[in-house]
Symmetry: D5
Subunit: 146 residues, 10 copies
């Protein structure tokens, strides 16, 4: 049993039980983005949370160990085609140099970590059309001089 | 005179005058991300703001018209190599499918616009290491059925 | 059951029943382009239309839920090889910059949405050779300054 | 003098004279899309129209011959990054197979020509947001069996 | 049953019956290049010819409908590796610009159609070594000005 | 002085003198395809022919040595974008496997040489539309078993 | 049964019988490089040699016909990753232009054939470390002028 | 002054003096392949040989230091297009796996070095057509187990 | 049975027995990096060590021969996406030219072998955060002049 | 003045003064790898060290500010071709998965930082051939669960 198998099992169980990602996240006491990424196989969970997922979704017992494994984070499309994902890629292309300038101005030479990192996705209601608000929150890492 | 020329002029004037992006943005009454992206040639400014930039940075007069032009948004590296930009790309790779799932769960079938879109970059102080907080805020666009 | 499975079922049923895409579209009260794209797995349908497709084509009941799912819009050939599709790609290559110029001239800095979007494909009879007329109709989205 | 040089001269003259593409097209009695593509160096013009462009924009005399030359239609980005052009590319990706199905259903095995081809770009006013309407009109070419 | 399945069936039947492509083509009254391309799944045949192929090669009855379907012309190697095919690719690379110059000189701005197109492959005996003679014969298509 | 410089000189002289490729070829007693490819820098000429080209086009004397040099045959677009050249590429994609089958059937295991090779491009008049006829004529090379 | 199936059968039989490539080659009276390439599916063998391979390795009878078929020479890695193969690729990169210069100096404008071609791989003992000696021997092919 | 500048100087001097690569190599007492690769900027020479090249070709004095520098071995075409170089690439593609098998059989797990490496290119006269003989001679390097 | 099959068997056995890579390495008397790379199919082991692995992990007997085979070292992602591996790739990108400069300064023109090569990965405890220490140790190979 | 200009100035001054990287590093009191990477434009230096470099190498005064700027870390070859750099890339390909396994075993789910990172390159003398020892030392960063 591999991450991809567990992902399939989770997606089936989620559909069968009529659960949403936010509901699953709330039941295991974690955030929706992290929980979803674990279920899709792009993050590992600590044993306690993995066991809760297995219980909540009635997965086979061995799924817990698989959920705890360090995933191999592979994406096959260097440039994603799905429009919902491509727009994020486009933002990196259009605003990447801008982000670099502002990070350097505020923090000095370094980067925002993608490892010591949190992310949220929220809905902001708006009469002119609701808005998606994505927040990326990563530790600043300074280049070391040695 | 083209966008790339004006970008060079702005970077030189900024360095010579010892100005920061936040300061420039504040002086023309716009946000730092938008202002920086205009200066780097990845967005166009309305005449009023373009004139203010020209005055503030003592650019040649014709620069204003160039700043108002619709840019040709080209990036040459499909996968960016600079670590500060790559980490953003990596986040799209690792969390893209997760974002898609959560947007669909909260809004239905559609995407976050990268056009009707705002972005901020903030510093969050933290004794364990300051954090970079990037906020993406785009209008939800629903797929039309016809 | 996944989008790809339902696509196969639809193509088989369509052939077995001798139905055309225009006929299917007409029976569910939607346009041919949208209906075809739903059947090929590149768009999701609302429940009512999904149920009508299932009934019309005598698909298994669970196909309706799959047709309602948000698809993962993936195409594997960055440059398509099939001549019928390549010619569309070539038009984007040859006339893309022209389209950009004219959209900016008529609307200002922004784009034609590919999400709030409709498309038709018609046959125009002509004694010198019939013509294919493809119409793209998308909402203009203006870049936001903030 | 090459196509790229003439393109630069045309863009400068157009800006200096405050002309729009539609106005230029109207003055030489041709459509805006074709005229713009000629000016950008992606199509050749017959002598009469080339001379009119040279007169209208006060270009150097030898520009007329260059405008009449068969262009080398090269685009460097297999996947365009500018959002206004990318959305057209995305439409080919999402609806390419659909277009192929409908062309085959209406016409038989063959393609829409990108050579014996016309294109228009129009603005359709709409209280919910104006719309861009792009029309592609190409001769149907049937595969020959021999 | 798909084009790829029918291709396999045809190749097996051809080997079992000891038939050559020229013989098959002659028996259905068509040219060898067109016939081979139909059998390999890269062209569609009219019903009459498809039925003749099915009869000649004793294929299952449903193969005829598949042979009549419009194929999805996909090749996976942008640069082919097999030496027999690569040499054709190399000729396009070395002589492509030359062909463009001569077509424009003889016909004006336009292209040779790859759709309204015929091709032959012949053996020319020669004491210094036999020669392969490939003839491409496509309709000239002139760019339309509108 | 390099091949690219001589190519520019030849194109200028050809335009200034109002010569066509066929006329140039005829004046040096060679075929149009070979002559054009030499002038574009994709083949080398023997001294006698190089000198005739220099005389005919009034090129600087040292151009003759350059025309005799073995060229470095480089093309930068693995998949050509110009439609006149792309159609040739497309023919290789669609009919490459067919050509391979027929060459093997007629000659055994081997290839058509692209070195010991000739090519012609002719115009065939036709009331339904003139046709471009391209002939490739290369020595068959058999794989050696050793 | 295809080339890939026969390759698997040969590799199994070779291992089971404890045979080496040199031994197999010697038993069918051919060179090791050619024999190995035939067994790996990258060359075809004449009937006599194919039958000898089938007998020697006790392959199923129909394998002989497959071994005689013209292979489709496909390699999937444009840049090979295995170090033993990459070093050969690197030599082409580092010494390719040198080889071209020396071939032209010794032979005139043309190439070394990869079809009318032989290759050996030998071990040269050396107290400082044994050496691999690869010899490529191909017919010189001169570009034809016509 | 860089390697590319010295290469240009060497090619000019070689042409002006009417020298061949073999003659140059012989005058500095080294092999033709190594000498040519040094002159083309793909290898460094020891001081003595660099000085001899400078003297022989009457290069400016500072060229000697440049010839002694460690080159940055860069090639821009992952798949070379020039036919003389492509054929070498093709041989790696067709015979790479074969070479790997035979090296492993003769030497064990390891590779032929491309660094501790020599190469010759010879002409072998043959009434049926002269042959190019390329010899690669590299030290066998065994994988270390630790 | 192939390398990939044995890798799967080893990973399963390792999990079932609760063994770590360091423990396995220690039990067969080899280093952890080498042992892991053998188990993952990227190196071959001598018979003695292969037999010890088979015994330790209770693999089927034929696995030993497979572990002794020379592997085909293939990686499919030219640019790895997993962050743990990408960071190593990034280090090559950022510090590659620096490493080249320093190797040349200390050793002369040549390279660090990746074949006669050892590697360790250690944990260095540190109150500010533990550190990963990777050591690469390869024989210097000097370019040969001949 | 940009990073690339300063790099050129430094390389010239270094050659003119006969300094080595280790000597330069020692004179500014930093490590050779970091110092070299700063000089090559791949890292920024604090003001004190930048001023020391300017003084030591007699660079123009404004070079100090450029040396302090945050660099844009771009490498153009996704797969490096120079053998000295390629071998490092190859090590990432061959041992990347191994490194990932061992880092996870020793530290848990996370990565070695390429930002909070140090590197050394040493020469280890050895009678069988000197060895290059490269040490990478980066902080372990654990994936955050939130």
């Amino acid at each position: 049993m591999k991450k991809a198998d567990v992902k399939e099992l989770i997606l089936s169980a989620k559909k069968a039980k009529g659960l949403g990602w936010e509901e699953i996240a709330s039941k295991i006491g974690m955030s929706p983005v992290w929980t979803t990424s674990v279920c899709l196989g792009m993050n590992s969970a600590p044993k306690e949370k993995a066991d809760m997922l297995v219980a909540l979704l009635a997965l086979p017992e061995e799924a817990s160990a698989v959920i705890q494994e360090c995933p191999n984070k592979i994406w096959e499309q260097a440039v994603p085609t799905d429009p919902a994902i491509y727009r994020l890629y486009e933002i990196v292309g259009v605003y990447g140099e801008t982000a670099k300038e502002l990070i350097h101005e505020k923090f000095g030479d370094g980067i925002m970590s993608a490892i010591d990192f949190e992310m949220t996705i929220e809905k902001k209601e708006n009469p002119k059309g609701d808005r998606v608000v994505v927040t990326l929150d990563g530790k600043f890492l300074q280049y070391r001089a040695w």
